[in-house]
Symmetry: C2
Subunit: 452 residues, 2 copies
């Protein structure tokens, strides 16, 4: 047998997959890098889709960080409209469906990266297939929704689910002047926040004119001529000529599961700190994989674009023989509704209790800038700590411009394992246009430090 | 002898002194707390003065965090227009000049806190005493300057010094539409920044119409009828009918020095981590004291309002028998010039080299938000690390809205002693309105991590 170039196959052409592909391409010019993507898009900003719908981003092309052509020019053998439909671990081959040529073929690999992403959770209720009902999890989804808004000129929108995507879509509709009802099965929006913090978001949504109904599950869709006309709930029906369902995502891990690769939390592909799966020679990264949660001390499914990029980088480095260690996540997330910024990191009070911590919490309402400075707005910070050790466990922020990104200070402190006492003496930046003399995150921690 | 209440004397009624007074008042209701302040103001925001001059803050009262009356209601024996002019450590007494009653008296103490603050550095050149020449280091300074601007309607301003205060005053003058020249003796503005970063600030100042002249020391002031009319430099004279001198501050430490209390860096009162001076029973805090610099491993004079508040708190806790430990500073500072935010933490490249580190640096220009998101502006981040260990040493940021406070992430990481490799995998908040998927501070660190 003649010695061949090593062949690395990447399944999935978005953040994680193409980060891995780019890293290994750069560091291992000798290897062959083949990437399969079932759509015609690569490396685009999933998190930007609601803003495309809002019209704040005017050109879908702007969401594409790197085009297929750019990847090819970089030396990646990128195959679009090519879906990997099976993995044969014995023969070290993937089975590919080429939608263009309408044929199936096998491609051998030496090493394999699974970056198959996630898909929207389904809502199995009558009428779900009617026209006018959308999800928002791909560029094609966003284009379809934008076309519907443009062509059908809907007059009454319903958003099902008040998680991050639901809230961002609701903002998009409000921005477009479309009357909007948000239906959430849980008793609060954004269940990653504690109820007291979620309430601040709910108030902002209602103030913007949204008809927000919590504890209101969707039981079905009424249709006329195949088009949605209303949404049924236990408390009556809501007229709607456009609906977006955003009730979370689940990992595309069936390929891996069928091949016998170990799955973990919520069926995500379980990976170690080098993004290796349970099968030698197979890596996974991004929204199809789990990630180690530093505060919980176990791997969880918490799919986010930032983690996808980091895991992709780790994969690429590992494939290139330069192993790096992903130290894990702390559960940071951020979004906004209109002018209201919403951020969280670590564990919420509820999550911390569920994880068995003895919890102490402190909340403050403070200004984003010195109170006397023009543009100062209000923000609320909630800090969660371990009552015994005083160790920081998490924070949540809801507030005006400049509030949200302060969560990074807490995320960094959590990563370092700081106590409240260490946290309150951090040397944070102060000048009147930026902050009160004690930063609001510190004020919350100080309040708590007195009690712990 | 009958047992008396313990008497704690505080010298200085601003941030550090009144923080200490308030803490000990709250925690030790049994003690007598006496505070001497030589002006009639307490607890006001020194950092807000330039914005009062700019007219952005319309009422000086808004800068007062806590009035004398409020302190008195809290049970502090606050004596205004009362200057401590001597400390008699043998007899444990302070000597007070009561400017109201025009008399001197002695007041015994059991424990003493020196919070005498700082004063502007003087510029010993001819004409310095002319009318129209100001410094900006007290509420009275600001009111005097504002009155001059109001009554004399100057048409040509000169700011001497391009440190934080100089830049903020220049911004204030530009805001008021006053043609402004800034004269700086050093070859660059803001010597706490490296030249490459300072250049970005210089560009912003010039773009705003400021006549900025670096390497231009002031040799004297020309006067007419006792009023300033021009500023002399080696490169010619600059007409001026209002001048603000902002060339740094020096500690008010003479009282302490004369009493035999140890002074340190730049004659600041040397304190330990509990803010105790070299003399038992005497504490110091704020702009008259030094602070331990965690990266330099020694105490330095780096006077800032945030540190003053923290040291005041530490003092108060210690006096109340609840010793806390001030872990030190990392050299964080922030300001802005117009829309340009300017921040730094840790050591600059220059400072790190001077301290003997083998230095690696990385700079990037990135957007504050996802590049496609409305409102995204440019920011430049420079990261400094130890070339051998990869340990973070510092960062500098110059950029648009949202850029500056990102320094807190680095300040927190510095405090935790993180390496570049740890820093780049931090779980920082990402959504398109807030950040690119890799935060700019991380992009700079990634660039550097490849080189270290």
């Amino acid at each position: 047998m003649s010695r061949q170039r090593e062949r690395i196959i990447i399944v999935g052409g978005d953040a994680a997959g193409m980060s891995a592909a780019s890293q290994v391409r750069r560091l291992r010019p000798d290897a062959e890098v083949v990437a399969f993507e079932r759509t015609t898009h690569t490396s685009y900003a999933l998190c930007g889709l609601p803003y495309l719908v809002a019209g704040l981003v005017d050109d879908p092309g702007k969401l594409v960080a790197r085009t297929p052509d750019a990847h090819r020019r970089a030396g990646i053998d990128l195959r679009l409209r090519s879906e990997v439909i099976g993995i044969d671990l014995d023969r070290r081959e993937v089975i590919v469906w080429d939608a263009e040529a309408r044929r199936e073929y096998r491609e051998p690999f030496d090493r394999l990266v699974l970056a198959t992403g996630a898909r929207p959770r389904t809502l199995a209720v009558p009428g779900r297939e009617a026209a006018g009902i959308f999800t928002l999890h791909s560029l094609d989804d966003a284009l379809a929704l934008a076309a519907w808004l443009q062509n059908e000129r809907p007059r009454q929108a319903v958003v099902v689910g008040a998680g991050y995507v639901g809230i961002e879509v609701a903002e998009a509709f409000v921005t477009r002047g479309l009357p909007t009802t948000v239906l959430e099965a849980a008793p609060q929006v954004l269940t990653l926040l504690d109820p007291d913090m979620a309430e601040l978001v709910e108030r902002a949504m209602r103030d913007a004119g949204i008809d927000l109904r919590t504890s209101t599950p969707v039981e079905g869709f009424q249709t006329r001529g195949g088009r949605v006309v209303a949404v049924d709930t236990p408390h009556g029906s809501v007229p709607a000529d456009v609906v977006v369902i955003g009730i979370g995502v689940e990992p595309n891990s069936e390929l891996a599961g069928q091949a016998g690769i170990e799955l973990g939390d919520r069926n995500a592909i379980h990976v170690d700190e080098r993004c290796r799966t349970s099968v030698p020679g197979v890596w996974a990264a991004g929204d199809c994989a789990d990630a180690y949660h530093r505060l919980l001390g176990r791997s969880v499914y918490f799919p986010l674009g930032t983690t996808a990029n980091k895991q992709g980088r780790i994969c690429g480095l590992d494939l290139a023989g330069r192993p790096a260690r992903f130290p894990g996540i702390v559960g940071t997330a951020i979004t906004r509704f209109g002018e209201t910024e919403i951020a969280r990191t670590g564990l919420s009070e509820r999550e911390a209790r569920a994880a068995g911590f003895e919890v102490a919490v402190g909340s403050v309402r403070s200004t984003t800038r010195s109170g006397y400075f023009p543009g100062a707005t209000w923000m609320t910070v909630k800090i969660v700590a371990d009552a015994g050790s005083g160790k920081l466990l998490g924070a949540q922020i809801v507030g005006g411009a400049g509030a949200g990104k302060r969560i990074d200070t807490v995320a960094t402190a959590l990563t370092a394992g700081m106590t409240l006492e260490e946290f309150i003496y951090l040397d944070l930046a102060y000048a009147p246009p930026f902050s009160p003399v004690w930063d609001p995150v510190v004020v919350a921690a100080r309040k708590l430090a007195r009690e712990v």
